[in-house]
Amino acid sequence: MSQDLELSLYVFVLATFLGLEVIRRVSPLLHTPLMSLTNAISAIAVVGSILVAGEQKTVLSTVLGTLAVTCSMINIVGGYLITYRMLRMFRKSGKERS
């Protein structure tokens, strides 16, 4: 196993445990915003998409990359915006919405 790969696997396993710990604490009240936020975060696939689209190595890869950037961008813009919209709706009794 190469060192890079070993390191990547460590990162993956530790990030999964960290994710489980952090997300376990999210109140069920916010499970829908949680899902739309993690959806926006997983649009990090935009990083790979930009590389493929911008390297312009072959026509096929540029087309696929551009499509992928579009898909990721939809999720980034749509995901963060709707999460924010949802969270703005939650208010405590006796308080106005902020």
């Binding site: 390191l7 990547s8 990162v11 952090v22 999210v26 499970h31 990090i44 689209a53 911008g54 813009v77």
Partner: protein, 460 residues
Amino acid sequence: MIEPVIPLLYLAAAASFVLALKWLSSVTSARRGVIIGVLGMALAVCGTLLKPEIVSYRWIAVAFVLGTVIGIPMAMMPMTAVPQRTALSHAFGALAAALVGTAEYYLQTPHIDHFTMSALALEVLLGFLTFTASLMAFGKLQDILPTRPITYRNQNVVNLALFGLAVAAGVYLAVRPETAWLFPIFAALALVFGVLLIIPIGGADMPTVISLLNSYAGLAAAAMGFVLNNKLLIIAGALDGSSGLILSVIMCRAMNRSFTNILFGAFGQVQPAVGAGAEEKTARSASAEDAADILRAANLVIVVPGYGMAVAQAQHKVRELYDILTKARVEVKFAIHPVAGRMPGHMNVLLAEADIPYDKLMEMEMVNSEFPQADVALVIGANDVTNPAARHDRNSPIYGMPILDVDKARTIMVIKRSMNPGFAGIENELYYMDRTLMVFGDAKAVVGSIVKELAGGSMH
């Protein structure tokens, strides 16, 4: 040059994502979480745009504009449409991963090592199957496709065989990445499997399925991280994967079912009419006026919302009911079952949209002890999650599922369109109890007329 800074930008982005999720743990800090999440994404995108490998920004710019133009309307959908919107965005996320995987395959073969190819195969498999599965889920949630489970003989055998074939093709590609003719077949198998996976799943199982798809979309992104040797992708993908996993487990527990049962069990398909002597039982029906009288005299009312409230778009009328009762010094609380609605947390978002304070929304474990003190439990469009058979009837298909103890309230009022049993055709014995009143009609119309009665009554 700027290049050495890029890894630092990625590191900061990864930290931002962790903070974003951490701050989501409470309502007060949650919005800060979204903002730092946006910041993290901006750092990641800027870092990537600075990379020297990028020779042209033209298509990237086009895609940015296109994505933004489609993304904004998708964020402005009404809250009742959030489940289908979420399914659709899982589809986009998974498709992005699958497309990048496909592009990388054709760019890198035949100079691709076995490990990278394994990760790539996983990325493409998860990406394409999640893409079609999410589209199917979207179709079912949007009522484009029939929501009831569709089953046929040997369905599980067919599905498993197809999945086996897809995995075999993936393994073969990992061993011999140069087998280029196999790649399109592999991708097609994944696409078809995604469709078949969702066909037998009914509407009520959507909360679990949508969580599972959330997890797959994240894992596809993490697999992409292994292909590109990018730690940021691995971290963000792992966070998304674990979030989906936790939600799926919570949903499964709330239905007392296992993953395999949900994916292969086709719930509600072969349930014979449980309790053959149903005709002898009678339910008491009441008018909106009766309901208003009882509610006016109550001290504590617990509202139990379900998918029916979402379908009827009754949440704003429910808010009016909440207002008028609260003003009359009746305490109103909301009991939220984890699987009420079509996705995790669906009811909370709907009620928050209707401007009901979130401290009145109570989780199942918290609220169940309060039902015995409640004068009225008002069930609006919920069914199976209130069925006492889950506690004692070993023959019931929902036996063992944790339920809201609605039957312990002094009076139970059920707003329902008709006596037709809900999904799965399970008879709800709650409706035949002496203390239960059925108010028939569309949830929005019924709650509206109750509000009108209450308003009229208080003026006299």
